[in-house]
Structure formats: C-alpha cells, structure tokens
Point group: C2
Chain length 462, copies 2
C-alpha cells in the first residue's frame, strides 16, 4: 500500500490513466505515473469475488478458481520444444497440437495456460487465429488469450463465444476464458497488457495479474521487498479493472522468484520461491482474492534437478493453498522450452498431489482394530478380509513409477522415468481422439478464422 | 491404546515379559502376549523427555532430538552399493568407508544412521568391531549401534565410550549414541531388538522404536489402521524402556508406508507415506515424544522418480515437524542399495530444505520501500545499493543445480544432475581428511577391537 501511495506505478496506457484519474487517483500530468491511496485500493479490491467459475465450451470442464480448490494448467509460451527422440527445436504447429493432445488427455490438467509452445512457423499476424482454433477444437478445457494487441484479444473472445455456441450476452454473463497479464517490473504496466485486460473486463472475463518480480533483478533482493512490489503491481492493475467493471473476476498472480546472483539467470523451485509463494498465498487471502502460482524449474533436461525444483515449486504453491497453477506440466529451462517428457512426469506429480490432499478416514472400520485383532502377531494383512474388501482403491496407483525389483528392471533395459514418460506421451498422442464438437460450430469457427485471415489478422510491421 | 489393552503385543524376550509382569501388565502365562492398559502406558510415556541431546566424541557435533529441530542421518543398512562408474555390487568395507567420508564431509548430515552399506566382506562375528572403528575414526558425528545380539550392542557402547575418552559413569550420564529397533509387525518385538534396547536404556542411551508397518502387508490397508498399529507397537516398547529406566530418551519411530497392491512391493514417498508421516508427527506431539521419519524412495536409479519420491518423503516428514530423519541421504531401491550419487543429490535437497525453513525478515530495510523508490519504473535492481549490500548472502546457492543456459550446458556435454553428483562425491572422497583423534584414544580403540576379535567377537553359527 505504501508503494502504491508514495511511489506509484506507471500505467503506459492513456485510457487506463484517464479512468484512474476520473476515479480520483493522483495521475501525473506529463508522465505515466499513477498514485492511489490505500482506501481507494481496498475499496476496489473488495469488489472482486473470492471465488469464481470459468465455464469452457464443455460445461463439464468448468473449473472453480478460489476457495479450497487448485486448478492445474498446461505449460505456456516457451519458444522451443523438446523430446527425447528429436531433441530441442524451435516451436511449431505440429508440436503445439501434440501438446494440446496431452493437455486434453490428462485429467489432472484442468485448463490451457496459453500456447503450450509458440508455433513460430505461423506468421504472428494470424498465429492467434490458428492457435485458438486448435485450442478450441483439440481441447474442450478452458483457454487463455494473450493480451498482445486489440485484435488478438477481441478475436479470441469471439472464437471462445462461437465455440461455446453463445450469444454475446450469454458470453458476457459469466467467465468463459481468461487472460494473464504481466507487469513490466519494476512498477510498470504496458499498453497491450492493460488494453487486453480492460477489454476482457468489459466483457466480464477474468484477468490474472502476475508481476514478473525476480528478486535481485526486477525487484528487491530481499524476499519481503520483492513480494511487496509484486503485491503493489498486482493490486494497482486489479483496482483499475474493478473501476471499469465492479466485481469482474481477477486473480492475484504470484511469480516472485530469485536470480542466480553469479549469472543473473532466473532460478525457480528454490527455497526463495517456496517462501515467496507461501507469503503470496497469505497476502491473497488477506485481500480476499484467488491466487495463481506456477510449477517452475530452471533445469535443462528432465533430470533430478528438474524434478526437485518442480516438486519444491509445487510444495510452495500447494502448501500456500494456491487456486490456479499455470505451467503445471511441461515446463523446463525457466520456461524457454516445453518438454513432452516433463509434461508426463509433471502429470504424475500432480496426480500424486491431488491424492495426497484427500482426507484420511478414521472410522471404526478404517481404524481396523478388528482386522488387527483377527490377523494377530503371526499373520499378515495381504489376504485378510479387511484388505480384500479395500485393496483395489486403497492406494494411489502411479502410472509412471517403476516399482519392479532391480533384477526385473535391469532385464527390461533399466528404463529411467523420462524414458517411461517418452513411451507414454507417444502412446497418448497416437491414441488421441478429439473431443466432440457440433459440425455447425466447427464450421462457424473455421469461417471466422478464414475471414479474419483475409482481413489480415492482427497488424504486424513485418 | 485399544490395541495395547484389548489385543496386546508379543514380547519375545523372557526378561522383558518378567519386567512388564512386575510392573502390573497382563502377561500370558504360556505365551508371549502382553496387554497393558492405557493408564499404565500413559504413565510410562510421560516419563520420557520431549527433547534430548546426543553428544558424540566431538561435542561440537552434538545434536538435539526433539522440539523445533530436525537432525538428518545418512542412509543405513542396504546390502548393496552402487555408483555410476562401477554399477551395483554387494556391500564391502571400502565403499562403507567412502560413504562415511561423505557423511563426515557434508554439514547437512548430522549423524550416522547405521552402516551406510553392509560390508559383507567382513565376517558377521567381527563386522561390528571394524564398522564401529571406522564410524568412530572416519566421522566424529553421533553413531548408531545395531541391536543384534548382546555382544554387538555392548561392544558398541564400549567403543563409543572409549572414543569419547569417557569413564563408564560419564558415558551413562548422557546420550552419546543411539539404537533403532524395529518391531516385527504385526504386533511383535523380537528378542535381539528388545535385548539391545534394554541394555542401551540401562546405560542411559536412547532408543528409536520404529515399527515396520507397511499398510496392506504387515499392517492394515487403511492408513488410520496402519498408523494406529505403528503407534501401539511403538508405545508398548517405549513403556518397557521407561519401566527399566524412567526418563531414558526414546523416539517415536514412524515408518508406515504402503505396498504396491499389484506386486506387494514396498512403496515410499507416496501420497500415503506423506500423510502417514504427518499423522505420525501429530501423534508424537500428542504423546510428548520426539519423532523419527525417513527420506525414502523405491526407485532403481537416481532418476526423476527417485527425486520425486524423496522430495515427497521430505515434504511429509518436514511438514510434520520431524525431529530425526534416518536415511536422509543415499537410499535407493526401498533401501536395498546405497547410491553415492543419490547421497550427494539428497544433500542438495537437505540444504535447500534447511534454507527454506529460515524465517523471512520484514524489517523496514527488508521491505525495501526506499530501494523500490530509488530504482523506480525505469531501473533495475542488479546494481542498486540495496542489492549490492546483500547479494552475496541473499539467496541459497546450490552446489548441484546447473543453471547455465541451454547452449552453455550443451557445450559442456549436457550433464544431468546424477552426473554432477558423481563428480562431486569423487572429489569429496579424494580430498577427504579424517577428523582429529587423540592417538592414545585411537590406540585404545584399536586394542579393544583386536582383543574382542581374538575373543571371537559376536557368536555366529557359521
């Protein structure tokens, strides 16, 4: 609050500043700086719902954001893609589509966080059209739209509306999708991000505001300072959106991590990240907002480091009662590459975590005193009635863990987990069947894409 | 308590049963079964300290067991050993000694949990003499003695006493070492384990009582039932030790995990293990006892699975406020093999966890409002004064993580974390210097070993 009051944020968007000026904020006459006092900020934030539901075209895939639930989303936005067979390469549409198949196939992935890899083989002016088409036809889970220019965000909203067979009024009546905007830390919100978020807000669609506050680089080297700055940048944009459409769903986005002080490289899944996430969760609850974290790591391959950084990330966010986890599956190299094998390994982690959060029963039956009495000191529980009645569903059964004894494992070629993951993603892609879509809707969506391509898509200078 | 009252435990040790009978327990006339009521159990447990200190020969290595501290111990008892260069082989003294060097060298390892690998090349009758000699000369950290027969435990106590230059009276005045006993689940305490624990108790030395309650095998398939049985088996033995020496330090040992219901193989680091550990922590606190968990996994190599199962294990125990973690570094294959690379990888995890548990400061300086003001929206924090003054110690600096960018990493041969770990353990072993020991003590210890070898060591039938 002191940062917002005393220092302020730069809103690099005339419209946003005009709105905030009208709302009583202190806006620089000849610059972009906006200061807002804590009473104003608190009043705006209080309008945001603590929990809301995003309903994609398949209503069975609706996800709750907030409260006691955590929704997991696929990796988003890496420029590169990798797998064990073909190695690392620049993102392309074929890999984009295959990653969507994994997103759709795994039940533990609840939404699309964005483009699972940037399909660089499609020209940027029309890329969003092909990508949204693929997202809406290969998956029926909630989609994200990038706030990267007016045409892109408006096209995305229209395509989501068409795919769900909704009128504009129906579309605007409830959250159907979301956008994630990043501040340009320190203390700056850029034009396209603000433009996209404001357009989404006007149509009742949710925005995640996730400052990119790496401690020691774009934010103070101290965790408390970095999280304070994250919070100020986040709340400033949320206040704007609440002025525009009071009650529009928003999410407190937490991305604070640290850099390697030797090289300046971003680090994730570190002790600093874990604590920043837990503090972020406390702050989100203080402000009554749902919050978003990530499953992040800075490893170059799906090795031990990738897994410990990922599990530490998941530890930090889930113990902080996260509501929305972006990049929950498939992220490597600090987000520079999407990995097919890591995607599958992450799904194993997410399933284990979901199971871990189930309550442990302590009924008389579950305390099993009678079974213990019956088996006694000279028996075992493998074949007693109590076990027989429960063993099928007693424990979580992993799909990726190799629990064979060493000899059997060695005989089968000593497969490592990333090799098992390789086999599994290939199988999922090979057996994939797209979710159903009414042919009339599919045609309308195709026509929209074709028309917008003819019109040139989004303007670029190349 | 109902298990101890209504069902009882088998104590396969005449002396133990005689002691419990004298103390008023209901002991079968013609069997091994002992029933004890909850008032008796509660009264005995209440005598045990909630926290105690083990002081090894180097008092600077003293460790607190209980309260808000967690002590980490090396892997113990695998029959096999493995490393990347030489593969998997049967345990031997050379590897035993090298693993002790790692135990000594890493500050995050606070005690020896036992033999880091079973040196099968030493005859069992004299193995404990050579092993204790190595433990007490290659490390100066607290040691564990196996309760596997009268001679072994008595010899171990004498050697610990000699190594610390203590009189018998001084040795018995405070905890200097520990033993870990496992019940033979379900519901049974065997002769050698009870004999060892009773001998340790008489000399004031601590015992960890860790039932081996795998849900679905030696314990009920339900978590509540398995942990209830674990608790009964544990408290029964602790009650006995408190009758023998009121106030002797004891530890509630938690080892409950589940089996793979398809094969019966033990599984670790599972959602069931995590929850069993958290419940165990709650029970230990209910009974006012320190508690012990493990860093366990069932992977066959130091791959992704090994790490996720390990981090999940560490998550379960540390979030459950564990006091003592056995097998904290080096365990693979459900304890059938000690891995040099996994030892180093685990040390990286332990260091990160230690750092994670440090409090986050929120002083005016740490909130960094002035630094944020000074840097403003158009600067960065890399070179501001606030960062300059703090960057050296601002973040945990991992020794094993490879945070280079992909290109540099690839140029250096794309090393995976287990390959980095391989390089590191070899370097630690090569540069190892044993801790100081007074030559007179070293000689006395050697003489003791020589004399006991001449006497035949511990009797065996082969």
């Amino acid at each position: 609050m002191r940062i917002l009051e005393e220092i302020g944020l730069d809103f690099l968007n005339d419209e946003a500043r005009a709105i905030l000026r009208s709302a009583g904020c202190d806006v620089d006459a000849d610059g972009a700086r906006v200061r807002m006092d804590r009473a104003f900020v608190s009043e705006q934030i209080a309008k945001a719902p603590a929990e809301f539901i995003i309903t994609p075209r398949n209503p069975e895939r609706a996800i709750s954001i907030g409260g006691n639930t955590a929704a997991f989303g696929s990796v988003a936005s890496p420029p590169n893609v990798t797998d064990l067979d073909r190695g690392r390469r620049v993102g392309n549409r074929a890999d984009f589509q295959n990653l969507l198949k994994l997103t759709q196939a795994f039940n533990c992935i609840h939404f699309n966080s964005g483009y699972p890899v940037e399909p660089v083989d499609i020209h940027p002016s029309i890329r969003h059209l092909d990508c949204l088409y693929d997202l809406l036809t290969i998956t029926d889970k909630a989609v994200h739209a990038y706030s990267l220019g007016t045409e892109r965000i408006e096209d995305a909203m229209e395509m989501v509306r068409i795919a769900a067979g909704l009128s504009s009024e129906e579309f605007e009546a409830a959250p159907r999708m979301f956008t994630n905007i990043n501040s340009t830390s320190p203390l700056k919100h850029d034009w396209p991000m603000l433009d996209g978020a404001m357009r989404m807000a006007r149509r009742g669609q949710p925005t995640v505001v996730a400052p990119f506050t790496l401690a020691g680089a774009m934010a103070p080297v101290t965790l408390a300072g970095a999280v304070a700055q994250q919070t100020a940048e986040c709340l400033g944009a949320i206040a704007l959106l609440q002025v525009i459409r009071p009650g529009v769903p928003v999410v407190y986005g937490a991305f604070t991590s640290n850099v390697d002080m030797k090289s300046g490289a971003p680090a994730f899944g570190t002790p600093e990240y874990m604590r920043a996430m837990q503090i972020s969760g406390q702050l989100a609850r203080r402000y009554g907002l749902p919050w978003r974290g990530s499953n992040a790591n800075a490893a170059n391959s799906p090795d031990g480091q990738a897994i410990w950084e990922s599990v530490f990330s998941l530890w930090g966010v889930t113990s902080g009662h996260v509501n929305m986890v972006m990049h929950a599956a498939g992220w490597l190299e600090g987000g520079l590459v999407a990995s097919f094998e890591k995607f599958v390994m992450d799904c194993e982690l997410l399933q284990q975590l979901s199971y871990y959060h189930q309550a442990v029963g302590t009924s008389e039956d579950e305390l099993a005193i009678d079974a213990i009495r019956q088996v006694g000191p000279n028996g075992n529980f493998f074949d007693c009635d109590h076990t027989r009645a429960r063993y099928r569903d007693a424990f979580y059964s992993p799909f990726l863990s190799d629990w064979r004894n060493f000899e059997s494992w060695q005989e089968s070629g000593s497969p490592k987990s990333h090799q098992h993951a390789n086999r599994i993603w290939q199988q999922v892609v090979a057996e994939f069947e797209p979710p159903e879509m009414d042919p009339a809707i599919s045609e309308e969506l195709g026509d929209f894409v074709a028309r917008r391509k003819e019109e040139g898509g989004a303007p670029t200078d190349f």
